[in-house]
């Protein structure tokens, strides 16, 4: 396989604020590559530079041989973009939206109408094609938003957190669509802060935090970075001080990391069985009632925790 996207030391500064600090990575033709990171990590800024919306402060990237800084029009012709927020004309129907956006991607005549029909079929909105978008549910709008990005059959599709704020059923449909598109040969760059999505979809994952790419690899390669560590998830009461508990648990021998988010405390350790008793004792000593405990195999959440000391949802 050859790289369709090659990113070299991409930097974006807004005044003194460094949003992206020298990110580099490649995406092979035909793979799904996820950029995983918490909100504000620099995922959207990176995609915005790669899609030629923002000029990078320094660095460059080539997509299908076209430089994003020297040949943005060449790049735009071969990429598709599904932005995080809906970008549709709500007073137009789904068909009118698709026709307009198809025209903006140089489609016309019979090829345009044929392609619009195919995309409507693909996103399951053929029956609702003549309804104005403003009458759609959030999930249906998301599907049209994706459909616009597919019209011109892009070689590389950028999808920026396409499942944010939608119901589980629509989310499932979108994830299935992503897999279908990839099975048809499309290369995708998918950003998310949901570890489960990255795990389900991606051939490779890049973990980004504070504008820096802190790890890249397959899921297996990444989890190997935290060794054979397991994660204990403690669910505590609403009124319990989970943060102070996390600090206390770090003192236990064998505990590598302990962080608290809301009413959950995540404890990374080599062997859960070795520290379980001590964890429960410490919680009891502090008068904190543990409602339930989950033991998880190494995953991307643990990798992020291991690399940053913070949970993805922090």
């Amino acid at each position: 396989m050859s790289a369709i996207l090659q990113v070299q030391n991409l930097v974006k500064n807004y005044g003194d604020f460094k949003a992206v600090k020298g990110v580099s990575f490649d995406i092979e033709e035909g793979e799904i590559f996820s950029l995983l990171g918490p909100n504000g990590a620099g995922k959207t800024t990176t995609i915005s530079m790669l899609s030629t919306l923002y000029a990078p402060t320094s660095g460059d990237a080539t997509i299908g041989g076209h430089s994003i800084t020297k040949d943005p029009m060449g790049v735009r012709g071969i990429i598709g973009v599904v932005p995080q927020d809906l970008a549709l004309y709500e007073d137009l129907t789904a068909r009118e939206n698709l026709i307009f956006w198809g025209q903006m991607y140089n489609l016309s005549g019979k090829s345009l109408t044929t392609r619009v029909d195919e995309v409507l079929e693909q996103i399951g909105l053929t029956d609702k094609a003549k309804d104005r978008v403003k009458t759609y549910s959030g999930g249906m709008k998301r599907r049209v938003n994706i459909g616009v990005g597919l019209l011109h059959k892009p070689r590389l599709l950028f999808m920026d957190e396409p499942t944010v704020g939608i119901d589980p059923q629509s989310r499932r449909a979108i994830l299935d669509t992503v897999k279908d598109l990839n099975n048809q040969g499309m290369t995708l760059l998918y950003t998310t802060h949901y570890m489960e999505e990255a795990e389900e979809l991606s051939h490779r994952v890049g973990i980004i935090d504070h504008g820096e790419m802190i790890a890249i690899g397959t899921q297996k390669e990444l989890t190997q970075q935290v060794g054979e560590a397991e994660t204990l998830i403690l669910h505590v009461g609403e009124n319990d001080d989970s943060e102070s508990l996390a600090k206390t648990l770090k003192d236990i021998q064998g505990v590598q990391q302990a962080t608290a988010v809301d009413h959950e405390v995540s404890v990374v350790c080599a062997e859960a069985e070795d520290v379980l008793a001590a964890v429960v004792t410490k919680a009891n000593d502090r008068g904190i009632k543990i409602r339930s405990i989950d033991i998880r195999e190494p995953n991307l959440e643990a990798v992020f925790l291991h690399l940053t000391g913070r949970a993805l949802r922090d």
Partner: protein, 423 residues
Amino acid sequence: MLKTFLIGIKDVRLAFRDRAALILMLAAPFVLTVGLGLVTGRFSSKTSSGISDIPVIIVNLDHDQLGNALADVFNSADLADLLEPTIGSDPEAARKSIDEDKAAAVVIIPEGFTKSIIPQQSDFANGNVVTADPVKIEVYANPSRSMGAGIVKAIVDEFLSRVEEGRVSETTSIEQLTFSGRITPQQALAAGFAASLDNQTISPASTLAVKINSSTANGDAVKFDALAYIAPAMALMFLMYTVSYGGRSILAERAQGTLPRLLVSPTSTAQILGGKVFGIFLTGAAQMLILIGASSLFFQLKWGDPLGVIVLVLAAVIGATGWGMVITALARTPSQVASVGTAIMLIFGIMGGSFINLEQMPSFVQTFSKITPNAWALDGFTTLGLGGTLTDLSAPILALLSMGSILFLVSVALFGKKNLVQK
């Protein structure tokens, strides 16, 4: 070019699907036109132009039959509400009064005017019944009071038209009688002199038909309708709403993400901005033409020379679009454009003569009004309403096109300093 057109068409479609925008673009000016038409009595049996007390100076140096008749027309009881005539004796002083904006126009009836039209007894004695070219009456018009000056000119034109009709018919009749041998040259002499005296005696009453009438190029008399002022005034005021609405859509597209999406498609920034401007222009033109069509259909309003109307509408929309673009370039959010646009709409409406005829405004307002598309376009529509044609519209059309071009360049410069993408 095609994408620019497609973006413009898309914007027109969106504008005409927005109910709130439709109310302000079409319903509001239409309702206000009806309301002001009712106030001015346009829809009652006793029609009124809503225009009154036009100050006009009459300088009668002729002091003969026709000169006196024309002066009497301006002083007639039937035109008393419309005109506020004063009698002058010095042409230079009268012209100076116009330069000082003290009146709408001066009518200077030169010495020998009557003699140049009515054959004298000596002419008939010589057998020469065709007189020399008439001495011309001068109408010295105040450019800042174009409507009043236009009405004065229309009255003078109507008077001269009647004089000319009488002169030609009387001369032709006597010549035909002489050539056919029905009367002798001596009889022709007596008849001609008597007829000329009789025909050229024009009483004020016989010219009452001119009122606020003027003559079109083909000689048909047209009546100036109050709605021919009110309807364009309202349409032009709400045209300013439409252009700010269109400008607002640029920032709205930025906020709703469609502008960034356009910018990452293989469409250039120039095509996108050009399309947005084209959309504003098309929406404004469609609004104006719909209002003109509706007022013609429902009120039988005659807007005047169709070609002139179309060209003037397009020029007015170009001028207004320039303002819409500048407002948009200066604003940061769609709501800022909406509030500034509404304020500008009202200010330009007042300053541009949409509510009160500019001639009744202080001179500084009249001067300020020149920056508004309303004033120039209204000037043009008034000219058309008084029977003018496209050839009479060079000043307003040139001014509107210049306004649009300059403001567009200013907006491009302002946009150049801003990031189109960042909210």
